[in-house]
């Protein structure tokens, strides 16, 4: 449990994966916090889970589908009302490439 789980450049990598820009101060603090938290959760290593099935959720249900029927839904206007920027009936975003 004393072994290092992450190093500082992992924080930058994770921030990139999660699409969150981080200041240098934030990176430092997150590194310290994550090391501590991941250190705590690694106590799970001690538990014998051989032949134990994972519980992704507690209900005995799988693939609950609705009937494939056309129903009235939101109008374009209602949905676009909260858009930061729109162009006609589209959400507008900055250039992609």
């Amino acid at each position: 449990m004393d072994k290092k789980v992450i190093d500082k450049k992992d924080v930058e990598y994770l921030g990139n994966l999660a699409r969150i820009s981080l200041s240098e101060d934030e990176k430092e603090k997150l590194y310290a916090d994550l090391e501590k938290i991941l250190g705590y959760v690694s106590q799970l290593e001690k538990v014998d889970t051989e032949n134990v099935e994972p519980t992704y959720h507690v209900l005995p249900v799988k693939n609950v589908f609705r009937k494939d029927k056309v129903k009235e839904s939101f109008s374009k206007e209602e949905i676009l009302k909260n858009a930061t920027e729109r162009k006609g009936d589209f959400f507008k975003v900055p250039k992609i490439i």
Binding site: I6, D10, V11, L14, G15, N16, L17, A18, R19, I20, S21, L22, E26, L30, D33, L34, K36, I37, L38, Y40, V41, Q43, L44, E45, V47, T49, V52, E53, P54, T55, Y56, H57, V58, L59, V61, V64, F65, R66, F74, E78, I79, K81, N82, A83, T84, E85, F91, V93, P94, K95, I96, I97
Partner: protein
């Protein structure tokens, strides 16, 4: 008194007496319109709904159509809800009056409401202390008599812990008993909407309106409704109560109050050996699910956008500026646990230990009717007192296990410390036994009937 005057009184009271920062906004127009409608329908001799004229506050992660909505975050500034959550539709159909939205930890991540972008909620019993969290606003609103009932959401204790800190009832139903359509998803395998109240009868009535299957939430399912038609009757030796020995490492004062509250009950000592790992499991599972669920907040379809040079940097800047510290921390933990190379050792491992925790409960319920624990290890702490994230996570040590197993649980006031701070007692029931717990058995514990 007319519904209009009654609701007007409540609105005035909230405006004058909310020194707790419980409410983020009052829906004055909506509430008065509804009250006026109720008065007119009453005059016409129409039959009104079961909750006619009852003001209900809702946590700010539950959508109310046409009203502003923030989830306690800056990232949703300016957002107006395009639809109402199923629970809100059901409450309004039962003629309840949705009176305002309450403060919360940002995206329901926290145990003190200090993570709200709109300032902490203060505990009505001591304004220097936290109200608990993440549904701290709803708990304080009920505890401070601003409203008789409020909705919250509970992922790892976010209803039960603030209920305990504020000295009110806080009920988290069975996972899937209440539709989450219109609740902002935090950790989807755990999230559940529930109710705060002081009066157990009112809490029951509200739950009776909001529970049920909804095709818009595929995890919603039928629960046992048979106890609804059975009259309450005291039975000798019932209920048999299990007290897990792993849940008694609380403060001395909490323990004394807990033991005093259970005097006269039929108690069996039980063991839930894997629950000592519950906090570790939770802080892998919940952040993992959150990191995926919160990907939608990217400044495109809603919320406040911070423009970058291109789309990717726009996402990163928007999220970097919009999310608070704790939300970032949890997204980072989740992203780590799910990332390639770590998935098996963290996420998958946690889900396996979760199975063992659920099995512990299943085995215990073969021997007892209810499992009873202190809701929290200590009474409400001071605002700013706990700053280390891990220490805050450990606040939920008694509430997380029932969440991981999807069980219904309620926190009820058990007594007060010598400083006058409330202490809560948690009653955990069998899966789908919500009506048994609320319609009958809570009276054993509250001594109301």
């Amino acid at each position: 008194m007319s519904y209009f005057d009654e609701i007007k009184n409540y609105l005035e009271r909230i405006k004058k007496q909310d020194k707790y920062n419980a409410f983020l906004e009052i829906f004055e127009q909506r509430a008065l319109n509804k009250a006026e409608e109720l008065d007119e329908r009453k005059k016409r001799g129409e039959k009104l709904g079961n909750l006619a004229g009852i003001p209900v506050a809702v946590k700010d992660n539950i959508l109310v159509k046409g009203e502003k909505f923030t989830c306690g975050s800056k990232i949703l500034e300016g957002f107006v809800a395009p639809y109402s959550a199923t629970v809100v539709e059901k409450l309004e159909a039962a003629d309840a009056v949705i009176i305002g939205r309450t403060n919360m930890d940002e995206f329901a991540m926290g145990s003190s409401t200090e993570n709200s972008a709109y300032g902490p909620t203060k505990n009505p019993h001591d304004l220097k202390r936290v109200a608990g969290g993440s549904s701290g606003g709803s708990a304080a609103a009920v505890a401070g008599d601003l409203v008789p009932v409020a909705l919250g959401s509970d992922t790892g204790g976010s209803i039960r812990q603030p209920a305990a800190f504020c000295g009110v009832l806080g009920f988290k139903p069975t996972y899937g008993a209440v539709s989450r359509y219109g609740l902002v998803a935090f950790a989807s395998s755990l999230d559940q909407i529930g109710v705060f109240a002081k009066d157990p009868d009112l809490l029951e009535s509200v739950f009776d309106v909001i529970y049920g299957v909804d095709e818009k939430d595929e995890t919603s399912h039928k629960i046992d409704t048979s106890p609804k038609n059975v009259a309450f009757q005291r039975i000798e030796g019932y209920p048999k109560i299990g007290v897990p020995k792993e849940f008694l490492n609380c403060s001395q004062e909490v323990r004394e109050i807990f033991e005093k509250a259970l005097k006269g009950f039929n108690i069996v000592e039980i063991s839930l050996p894997h629950t000592e790992y519950a906090v570790a499991v939770y802080y892998i599972v919940a952040p993992s699910e959150a990191s995926s669920n919160l990907a939608r907040f990217d400044g495109v379809r809603y919320g406040r956008r911070i423009e970058g040079d291109d789309l990717i940097s726009t996402y990163s800047k928007t999220r970097g500026h919009g999310f608070g510290e704790e939300v970032k921390r949890r997204i980072m933990i989740g992203t780590f646990s799910l990332s390639s190379g770590y998935y098996d050792a963290y996420y998958l491992k946690a889900q396996k230990v979760r199975t063992l925790i659920a099995e512990d409960f299943r085995d215990a319920f073969k021997k007892v009717d209810y499992i009873v624990t202190p809701t929290t290890p200590t009474p409400a702490f001071k605002i700013g007192e706990i700053t280390d994230p891990l220490s805050l996570y450990l606040q939920d040590v008694y509430t997380i296990p029932a969440s991981l197993a999807g069980l219904p649980a309620i926190s009820i006031p058990a007594g007060k410390t010598k400083d006058g701070l409330p202490v809560g007692l948690q009653i955990i029931g069998k899966r789908n036994s919500d009506f048994m717990l609320l319609f009958h058995d809570i009276f054993y514990f509250t001594g109301e009937k």
